[in-house]
Subunit: 370 residues, 5 copies
Amino acid sequence: MPALHPAHATRHRRKSEKKVLRSRHKSIGQPPGSLIHIGEQKVEKTEITAIGYDEKQAVTLSVGNVEECLALKERFKVLWIDVAGLHETGVIEKIGELFGIDPLTLEDILHTGQRPKVEDFERYLYLTLQMLDFNQEHGEVGHEQLSVVVGPGWIITFQERPGDMFDPVRQRIDSPNAKLRKHEADFLAYTLVDAVVDHYFSTLEEIENRIDLLDADLVATFSQESFNALNALKRELIMFRKAVWPLREIIGSISRDDFAVVGDLVEHYFRDVYDHVILVIDTVEVFREIVTSMHETWLAGVNNRMNEIMKFLTMIATIFMPLSFIAGVYGMNFRNMPELNLWWGYYAVLGLMLLIVFGFLKYYRSRKWY
Amino acid sequence: MPALHPAHATRHRRKSEKKVLRSRHKSIGQPPGSLIHIGEQKVEKTEITAIGYDEKQAVTLSVGNVEECLALKERFKVLWIDVAGLHETGVIEKIGELFGIDPLTLEDILHTGQRPKVEDFERYLYLTLQMLDFNQEHGEVGHEQLSVVVGPGWIITFQERPGDMFDPVRQRIDSPNAKLRKHEADFLAYTLVDAVVDHYFSTLEEIENRIDLLDADLVATFSQESFNALNALKRELIMFRKAVWPLREIIGSISRDDFAVVGDLVEHYFRDVYDHVILVIDTVEVFREIVTSMHETWLAGVNNRMNEIMKFLTMIATIFMPLSFIAGVYGMNFRNMPELNLWWGYYAVLGLMLLIVFGFLKYYRSRKWY
Amino acid sequence: MPALHPAHATRHRRKSEKKVLRSRHKSIGQPPGSLIHIGEQKVEKTEITAIGYDEKQAVTLSVGNVEECLALKERFKVLWIDVAGLHETGVIEKIGELFGIDPLTLEDILHTGQRPKVEDFERYLYLTLQMLDFNQEHGEVGHEQLSVVVGPGWIITFQERPGDMFDPVRQRIDSPNAKLRKHEADFLAYTLVDAVVDHYFSTLEEIENRIDLLDADLVATFSQESFNALNALKRELIMFRKAVWPLREIIGSISRDDFAVVGDLVEHYFRDVYDHVILVIDTVEVFREIVTSMHETWLAGVNNRMNEIMKFLTMIATIFMPLSFIAGVYGMNFRNMPELNLWWGYYAVLGLMLLIVFGFLKYYRSRKWY
Amino acid sequence: MPALHPAHATRHRRKSEKKVLRSRHKSIGQPPGSLIHIGEQKVEKTEITAIGYDEKQAVTLSVGNVEECLALKERFKVLWIDVAGLHETGVIEKIGELFGIDPLTLEDILHTGQRPKVEDFERYLYLTLQMLDFNQEHGEVGHEQLSVVVGPGWIITFQERPGDMFDPVRQRIDSPNAKLRKHEADFLAYTLVDAVVDHYFSTLEEIENRIDLLDADLVATFSQESFNALNALKRELIMFRKAVWPLREIIGSISRDDFAVVGDLVEHYFRDVYDHVILVIDTVEVFREIVTSMHETWLAGVNNRMNEIMKFLTMIATIFMPLSFIAGVYGMNFRNMPELNLWWGYYAVLGLMLLIVFGFLKYYRSRKWY
Amino acid sequence: MPALHPAHATRHRRKSEKKVLRSRHKSIGQPPGSLIHIGEQKVEKTEITAIGYDEKQAVTLSVGNVEECLALKERFKVLWIDVAGLHETGVIEKIGELFGIDPLTLEDILHTGQRPKVEDFERYLYLTLQMLDFNQEHGEVGHEQLSVVVGPGWIITFQERPGDMFDPVRQRIDSPNAKLRKHEADFLAYTLVDAVVDHYFSTLEEIENRIDLLDADLVATFSQESFNALNALKRELIMFRKAVWPLREIIGSISRDDFAVVGDLVEHYFRDVYDHVILVIDTVEVFREIVTSMHETWLAGVNNRMNEIMKFLTMIATIFMPLSFIAGVYGMNFRNMPELNLWWGYYAVLGLMLLIVFGFLKYYRSRKWY
Ligand SMILES: [Mg+2]
Ligand SMILES: [Mg+2]
Ligand SMILES: [Mg+2]
Ligand SMILES: [Mg+2]
Ligand SMILES: [Mg+2]
Ligand SMILES: [Mg+2]
Ligand SMILES: [Mg+2]
Ligand SMILES: [Mg+2]
Ligand SMILES: [Mg+2]
Ligand SMILES: [Mg+2]
Ligand SMILES: [Mg+2]
Ligand SMILES: [Mg+2]
Ligand SMILES: [Mg+2]
Ligand SMILES: [Mg+2]
Ligand SMILES: [Mg+2]
Ligand SMILES: [Mg+2]
Ligand SMILES: [Mg+2]
Ligand SMILES: [Mg+2]
Ligand SMILES: [Mg+2]
Ligand SMILES: [Mg+2]
Ligand SMILES: [Mg+2]
Ligand SMILES: [Mg+2]
Ligand SMILES: [Mg+2]
Ligand SMILES: [Mg+2]
Ligand SMILES: [Mg+2]
Ligand SMILES: [Mg+2]
Ligand SMILES: [Mg+2]
Ligand SMILES: [Mg+2]
Ligand SMILES: [Mg+2]
Ligand SMILES: [Mg+2]
Ligand SMILES: [Mg+2]
């Protein structure tokens, strides 16, 4: 089981990768379409993979030289080029040239930390969204920008580093009689977006598991650590919501508006994705409300504990103060204190003290203090 | 009377059935319309019941083989097929084939935990909503997905398990001169939806009863348990709202838009359901606000109690500290302490102590501490 | 002056009449238009009063047999039938038949606790809203459903029990040259709605009086009772808002849309009512914000008091603990304690103690603790 | 400098003039257009001042008899009649007759405490808004209703009492080559509204000054009085917002819609006022957020103080309790206590005590308690 | 590293420059278009710089006499006049005359503290927005109003003082083959707005750095100072949001609506700025939520600390009170106390005391108090 309160979750929360904002210093005052990579370099070399398929065949190639892509484009009904790693801006620029992609689009691809959006350029559709993944060890949601450019017969995806949730899609492409192979590039775009959105559910499930762990932990300890872990989770939900909220509009727009490269059937499938997006957003809101109510439980528990502590202190103090006082009285050194000379005086005082103890105990019992 | 604070309500809150999200692992990366059941299997065998009726007759049959349904469709003006249990995907697929239902619709039927929605497929109308039920013992609202597919002359309902709120409807179908038998399938759809929505009121009444119980309990104890029970109820209301909120739009759309299979008269009746939906949503909001104000009462009460405890401690401590000090002074062993030799010294000190006690008591009375 | 904190206001808050929801058990699964009264029976016998008038005459009749109404309808330009008491569903049904009222409308009339709404049935307009009244003794707002059915030349009002805010209207009808007698039934409808809305202001004034009483009380006591009374008032405001909020849309719709039975002039008057409705809603919101700020004042006061109590305890305890310690030291029984034999030892110790007391007092004064 | 916490600000807050609602008892059930003054009489006699001007001349007259106004209307290009005092309803009615003002408008003029609104009656435009003024002594915003009726060539303003922010406007009218004299009545209307809105900025500046005073005071004292003054200010902001919020819509409507008596150029100027209204509303919202954050600061400070007090008590108590205990031990009267007879026993105990003191002090220092 | 809690940040927060409102006294009641500077004079003399360029040349001139500008306008394809300093209203008026700028626009330029807006005057476009800059030393965001007037072939910018974020733009103008030199004035306007918006990201990055610093500090100290610094930051975010929120609408409008002086290509570029504006607004909201959650952490920490303190006090007090009581008992002077004479009595009592200590310690350990 992962640690519930890793030190870094509460203290070193914001490694540069976890910043809300990616540093944009380099791009200030630059002309539009200046190709500068904003974000961390996350991979040593940009990896380009091309998958071409039609109903009869499907080929996967690791591309060394970008120019090869153009030839592939002719050979297959659908060509999917996947680019992992964004720091080699020359490569991105070259791809842009070959496929006629607008400089502003290329800039958006390179500026990670984009707000999700869709833009129609007639000859292609540009779509950017966030791939989210929950790291159970750190209790953090990882964000990786995915850019999808869909043209007639081709699709290019840009990721920040290799590794994604598209392996089942690749398997379907490889399987000879997959329905996927009968469709155009727009259907592949739908399939990829659907995989990203379906993965949000996995992420949310893992977040729900964490909520359950924290919920159990919270009630057991009421410690500052469990509060901090809760608060860290809350921030992850804030970032999650920021990443998915715009999809409502974006996917809705794809399924409604008449984009050139998206056919009617695929619009129909995007309506299904739209339902999922709404469900994701609803669920994030519910999680936020649950976390807020856990927060309130924590505060209530701390308040309650304080009450318990003070009750205990008050019981002990109020019982012993009168007793000590009586002992103090008979510890005085007055010459004339008749009680001191009675042979039963000591026993009488002890008896009085016992009476006082029982009196207080009865009183506290009547007030249900113990 | 059900237990107010069942242990599981606060500690083991989230059995898999109470998860906000149903596990969707199996469906990630699958092609659209892949018939995979998402949710728990809640019944051993799928039960299919067919009810056929027209003005003259009404027949209820338990269906063993799905193909029988097609024959029944011809025999009656209206055929209602009720399917309870969703894990036998083969059965669902077969029904889909026989009645020409889109794979995406079938997928939605199988993916429980859907957001309520309505979709018009021209030849049929697809509607999904949540049947809610309050479990007084656990203090929890049970959610069960109901899918309704309405075509010309037939209606198919899919539930997660047998048992529903439609028995009065079945009785009306059985009664020879019920108005219901004079109408088409769309009227039956209205009747079913109306029964589901009317049942929300029952659920809300039971929630209100629980609120009243908790309200009484809260003020009496101010315990952590009553707070937790309140918080658990709050979460149930969050889930309730999530389940009914989309109905506003859905039922409004049915009563307004021109769906092929819904006649004008039934639209008129759906407007009545619409009023009820709005009232349900308003009531949930009011309950949420009441629960929030109970939460505040709890916190205020705990704060107030702390005040009472501290007042009591302060009264006892401030009275006995000076007294013990005086006793301490005359317990000192200085050789030269003239007061000790006075025959009335002891009595004078006791008198002084009494004076101090009365002084403090008067002061506290003047500040209304007791 | 009414009691500020009646026991029932805080503890027995929810008599059946104060429930947010009226029990709807009886109506679940019933066909639409089933005439079942939902709500409490609040009067022994349904009372029907008919008022007929035109410019020349005005007659008030107590109606025994519903059929008489039809005859009256012919005799006067305007006929107003007021029905008080809803449990005799037969009577309501009969009226519905005579005046051609839709079963769904009759159902709405009988189902008290409706959300306010307006519905246009071409041959009549149906309007339902809540008559509100503040009960100073219980600190509660009473809700009574008023249904108004306006046809050409007639108007029927349905109330839950006799007694309303329409007496000034009845007086105006009786006065020979009242402008009211020159107008049609729609003007009477406007006059009745205006009276209901104007009465909201009275209710709000009484709520404001109560807020002022509670405000004074709050600051004086900071007791749990005053907090509870405040919270009870908050709930009344929640219910008040729920009752008036829909009127914004309803009255706006009457004054804007072209309903058959509402003339242009009366639309003009309804715009005036619309202004009042907005003012009522704004005022309720302001009251809610004021009550929230009183809530905060209470909490701040309790926190502050705790500070005062702890300051006092700390002052007493920190002064007497060192003193008692010093007395304790010289109460030790060591054989060799030179100070004990000095003739001025006792006085020196007393002096030291005085110094300590003044030192602490000066310190506390410097920190403004007293 | 004005008192920061005048007694009445917190305790007697709601003199009848400060009520949120003006008493409307008299108007309930009255026919529409009944001229009853709602609000307090604030001036002994209604004062009427007429100012007539055109490019060549400008005359200011105190009007004794309302009928005189009609004659003036003919003499000047623009006639501005200012009525201060609303209790003489006869006078208002007479003016209404002379200038053809609708009874509903007259009613609105007399019912002070109106929500701001604009109404177009073709032959005139009716506009009502609130003149606001900050009373530094009481820390309260004064509200006075201003009604403006603008016709072709004339303008009538109704105020609750004499005194307003229009003196600079009057001076501009008196100055021979003021641009104002070249324009029509609609420009004068704009000028008056602009003066009212500009005065909101003055009021807000004074509120900001008060916020600054309270901010300094708050941090210095954390007293209940400073909290109450803050809360009183919050209520003033609630009322301020209620008074200006509707202007957004109203001024926007004047500058956009085609009202008969407002020319294109003046619409252009009203767009400028519109900017100011938005800025006023934004500023009120910012002030509300600042006051809320001050509220949080107060609460945090009180909590922090409690911490300080408890730390101090704990330090003193935990140091002296062990010391007193040791003294108590050697104050016991057992016959056989060897330490008592050692000649260095007393000094050893004193040394032990010093060690304990230093131990605790070091511990507290290590925890940064002092 | 800058000081985290500069005294002025918490105590002298509101120097006149930090006021939410700029003093508008001078402008009340003035005719529209009165050129009065609202805001502080921030520079001794107004500095005017003219930059003219076309594809072949680029010239930068310091303008002494405003009239020179007109000549420059003829010489270049694009003329950019930058005016720094607004108190010399004569200069502003002169520029207005030369370029045909509406008096209301000039007024807006001079009234600093404007809400951002865009206004289309056909022959020119007027745009005002706030240049924001984070002062790490004071922890404050500096606001400076920028007004941009764009006509055909010319652009005039008005700032409150010299110094801005446009130096990279100036460098691009100076570089012979910059794309910028090929475009019209509208492209320069886009470039300037883009630079302002890009600079918001720098400001937000610095705010994020400060948030991180405060986050670390907060958890380490839980002091009132760190709370105050947090609250001060919250207010800066409130002001930041107020400054950027209107840009959503403004930039959206420029990129959508058909303003005369903005070409299609530049609209395309403004859509890119629009994305950035949305991202800025989203980020500000996320920062606000993070600051709120830090606030909650602070409060939770203070509550938790109080618990720790009280636990410690309770442990010490409850252990020593019984011990001191026992010592007190055997310090009593009764003649007949048999235990005192036992030779092992003293040791037995010490043993009993040890037992009590261990008993309590075990109990506290079992409750996890230490
Ligand atoms: Mg850019
Ligand atoms: Mg971009
Ligand atoms: Mg990747
Ligand atoms: Mg999906
Ligand atoms: Mg939102
Ligand atoms: Mg939302
Ligand atoms: Mg899917
Ligand atoms: Mg689906
Ligand atoms: Mg079922
Ligand atoms: Mg119903
Ligand atoms: Mg909502
Ligand atoms: Mg809502
Ligand atoms: Mg019904
Ligand atoms: Mg109904
Ligand atoms: Mg009644
Ligand atoms: Mg009215
Ligand atoms: Mg609302
Ligand atoms: Mg009115
Ligand atoms: Mg609202
Ligand atoms: Mg607290
Ligand atoms: Mg009225
Ligand atoms: Mg006045
Ligand atoms: Mg103005
Ligand atoms: Mg609002
Ligand atoms: Mg708002
Ligand atoms: Mg102005
Ligand atoms: Mg302006
Ligand atoms: Mg500058
Ligand atoms: Mg930019
Ligand atoms: Mg807003
Ligand atoms: Mg917002």
